[in-house]
């Protein structure tokens, strides 16, 4: 019953997403929608690594850049007509991103926690430096032209929108699949205590690398779509620290480690970002707003929107069932109570998701 309801909800959301380009005529809004989808793809991909394994990468936007250059260079060296054909190169672009992620993952995943974060930041800037300096390949800071899309006027945005939507659906499906699989359970275990997971037969090294590469795959595809969408790329824009942070912020806002959280985060933040950048772009106010939002999320919603809401829902259901505001979490059956008494244990109370006890 609950599964049927969820599927129905998903179908409705998807139908709305499909209809959007028919309803919105403004090219500006449609551009916003494309960017929102691209960020949703990136945040979902990032979440497979950062959310499920707890390895916070602040450099996965490097694969966005790699994807953007991969599509552009493929477009120059492989004969493609400029219509829908570049979209069919996207899986190849994803694989190029994934292949480049393997050595980077092997190196960076030798470290943990803060050191890992710092190494991944370096990854982004090394990518930017390489793109600037490998002039023969990338044309340096002058940049490169991607294949130019043939569509004109209001017909320009929808193909990109649908391409991004399809990739997003695949990314969410992969993320969901991983989350509910035995593999995913191992990931969440190693997020809590990696050494203990190793000692219970989890192949943590391989599992982390797989997540690192899956994240890179989807982020590279987003980069590929971006390159074709913008038709011109240069290092500072496709290896962008702000986009890098944005993707992480979105995952955290929506709910890190959940399937739908990163998508929700992108839906909430990216339109606002575009709007503020468009309105106050000149004075950089939107950057300050970004920073403020990051602080607010970390301080007030450390678990993100989705886990907090589901916690409230669980709380509400519990109260309605027991009819009183006592015991939160785990209904206390008489048998359980006596067993606990026999063992001399304290009653268990569930702390709110943001509290320290839940985060230990």
């Amino acid at each position: 019953m609950r599964i049927a309801a969820r599927l129905a909800g998903l179908a409705v959301l998807l139908a709305i997403a499909v209809v959007v380009p028919q309803v919105i005529n403004s090219p500006l809004s449609m551009t916003m929608a494309v960017f929102t989808l691209l960020f949703a793809i990136m945040a979902t991909g990032w979440n497979v690594l950062g959310g499920y394994t707890g390895y916070i990468s602040l450099g996965h936007a490097a694969f966005f850049g790699i994807g953007a250059y991969a599509l552009t260079l493929l477009g120059q060296h492989v004969q493609v007509s400029s219509g829908y054909e570049p979209f069919f190169l996207l899986p190849v672009v994803g694989l190029i991103g994934a292949a480049s992620a393997v050595p980077l993952g092997i190196i960076t995943l030798r470290t943990r926690r803060h050191v890992f974060v710092v190494l991944t930041i370096a990854m982004l800037f090394i990518g930017q430096l390489l793109a600037t300096n490998l002039r023969d390949l990338t044309n340096g800071s002058t940049g490169l032209s991607a294949p130019a899309a043939p569509w004109m006027g209001s017909a320009f945005n929808p193909p990109f929108y649908y391409a991004a939507l399809i990739v997003l659906v695949v990314a969410v499906a992969v993320s969901w699949w991983i989350r509910q699989s035995k593999f995913g359970l191992g990931l969440r275990a190693l997020r809590d205590d990696e050494d203990r997971a190793l000692g219970l037969g989890i192949n943590a090294g391989l599992a982390k690398l797989v997540c690192f590469v899956v994240a890179a795959f989807f982020i590279a595809i987003a980069g590929g779509i971006y390159a074709y969408f913008q038709t011109y790329i240069y290092p500072q824009v496709v290896f962008d620290p702000l986009a890098d942070l944005a993707m992480v912020l979105m995952a955290f806002t929506g709910g890190v480690g959940t399937v739908s959280g990163p998508v929700l985060g992108a839906l909430l933040i990216e339109p606002a970002h575009e709007y503020f950048a468009f309105t106050y772009g000149g004075n950089g106010l939107y950057l300050i707003l970004y920073g403020t939002l990051f602080l607010v999320v970390i301080l007030l919603l450390p678990q993100g929107v989705i886990p907090t809401i589901s916690y409230w829902l669980a709380l509400y259901r519990q109260r309605r069932q027991t009819g009183a505001a006592g015991q939160i979490g785990g209904q206390v059956t008489p048998a359980a109570a006596t067993q606990r008494e026999r063992a001399g244990e304290q009653p268990i109370e569930q702390p709110p998701p943001g509290s320290r006890a839940a985060n230990q």
Binding site: L200, G201, A343
Partner: protein
């Protein structure tokens, strides 16, 4: 041939000796005890045997086969389970999910299937029933009390049906009722053929439970024998009380 054997193990941390010439045997089907003053190397021995620390010398053998230096993952898959002195569970997973982590599956395709098959669910349910945590199965494990966490860790290790289980202070910091319960569970499993090596400071617990006891002091085993023998061994008394 012993089920598990450590021969002449050596391990030092900088200038400090953790283990030197440490030999210990665990025979199939017994409940072996390991005692010794604080800092005598008991946990280090566990860490070296289970692959968490690399030995500087010596060998670890399981049924005569050398497994020195194997990774914790491989050691576990060979049938050696362990618990930690400071209980380690996955606090953000539910109680039930914790047990599932240790239920082994082989093959890439199987890893991609749902985390709990019907068979696995039944098995996890049985294990939680066995340690008396079945009613808490859907709670986040981080919400359990210390003693309950110990029981959960125990159930988790049991999930993979290890041949031998190394328990590091199972009764430490746990109330007396729970200690009795735990001892009872260990005996039950032992009757089913599981071998144990128990590190414990609670002498009453060790003396009652174990058929054979080894005593460690300064990184090496100084005495070994029946509980009554060990209790009256002058070397052991000296190790505990000092010269």
């Amino acid at each position: 041939m012993s089920l598990l054997e450590a021969a002449d193990l050596a391990k030092s941390f900088g200038g400090i000796t953790g283990l030197s010439d440490c030999c210990i045997r665990v025979e199939e089907g017994e409940i072996a005890g390991l005692i010794g003053p604080n800092g005598s190397g008991k946990t280090t021995l566990f860490n070296v045997v289970t692959g968490y620390e690399r030995a500087d010398g010596g060998a670890v053998r399981m049924r005569g086969k050398t497994i020195t230096g194997a990774s914790p993952r491989r050691v576990f898959r060979l049938g050696i389970g362990r618990t930690f002195q400071l209980t380690r569970i996955f606090s953000r997973l539910t109680v039930e999910e914790n047990v599932h982590v240790a239920l082994q599956r082989r093959g890439f395709g199987r890893m991609l299937r749902r985390w709990s098959s019907a068979g696995e669910q039944a098995r996890a349910g049985d294990l939680l029933e066995f340690v008396g945590l079945a009613h808490l199965r859907s709670l986040p494990a981080g919400n359990l009390s210390y003693g309950q966490k110990k029981l959960l860790e125990f159930a988790t290790v049991l999930a993979a049906e290890p041949r031998v289980i190394l328990l590091d202070e199972p009764a430490g910091g746990v109330n007396p009722t729970m200690v009795t319960f735990l001892a009872d569970r260990i005996r039950t499993l032992n009757q089913q053929g599981v071998t144990f090596l128990v590190v414990e400071h609670n002498m009453e617990f060790v003396m009652q439970l174990c058929s054979r006891i080894s005593v460690m002091h300064r990184g090496t085993v100084i005495a070994e024998g029946l509980p009554s023998e060990v209790r009256n061994n002058p070397a052991v008394l000296e190790a505990y009380l000092g010269d």
